[in-house]
Symmetry: none
């Protein structure tokens, strides 16, 4: 980490300085010039408080946070969603079978195909289809499909 590296440099610098001063003072001591001891003292104080300052700063200063905002696009509702108009469906009062058959009608199935698909006889399907027309007030399967789509009671 760079931060640690920087500190190492500074501390190394400080230590070297201290050692030098000590060496110097020792030499001064040796030559009985002791009255300059105050300088060493001050140097030590300076060194200590510098270190203290750095340490405190490191503890206290909140690291600068650079926030990089990356926008992530989310596509919502790409397909034209089918929304069933339940109110309209209720109005018609279709029973389950009739609505089921209406949906199959819209998919293009013939009466015979519908009969096979939902296990009914052809005549039953015809009956349901006829009742469906009555309730929807139409006269053919194509009209029923067109109206059902207008009313939004079937898909597509």
């Amino acid at each position: 980490m760079t931060l640690l590296k920087d500190f190492r440099h500074i501390i190394l610098y400080g230590l070297t300085l201290a050692v030098l001063i000590f060496a110097l003072k020792w030499m001064q001591w040796k030559f009985l010039i002791v009255d300059n001891a105050i300088d060493i003292y001050i140097g030590l104080v300076a060194l200590f408080f510098t270190t203290l300052g750095i340490w405190v700063a490191k503890q206290v200063i909140k690291p600068k946070v650079e926030t990089v905002i990356v926008e992530k696009e989310i596509v919502v509702n790409q397909s034209t969603e089918f929304i069933l108009d339940e109110a309209a469906l209720e109005k018609l009062k279709l029973n389950g079978r009739e609505y089921e058959i209406l949906q199959l009608l819209a998919k293009g199935y013939s009466n015979a195909e519908i009969a096979t698909r939902i296990f009914l006889s052809l005549s039953t399907v015809k009956t349901h289809v006829s009742n469906l027309y009555s309730k929807m007030d139409v006269k053919s399967r194509t009209q029923a499909i067109a109206k059902a789509k207008q009313l939004r009671i079937i898909e597509l």
Copy 2:
């Protein structure tokens, strides 16, 4: 480069230190008479070096980069807009009349109604409808309607 930056810091620190020592020495010279000023002097040194330490630390500490991913919703095509798939329409190679009749078919009109509406005979309409089925590869009007809507070549 980090190394150069570090050096700059260290040199700056050294210079500041040098200036300070000069200042101190100058102060010592001036206020040599005041004996107990030594406490204030050391206090000032401590304060200064603490500040210096903090300053250095502040310079050296690297900003932390934080990446925040923000999700942005993009609404696409919410309205049930009809978009004609011209490519699909081209593929079928329907002629004008056939496409016209296809549209009327989807609206629920019978062959007879279509004939009246576009001033054709019933047999002509039947012919067109038959050809339409061949081209669309279907076998009934309801299938044609379902397929046309799937292919997005008619409205609704």
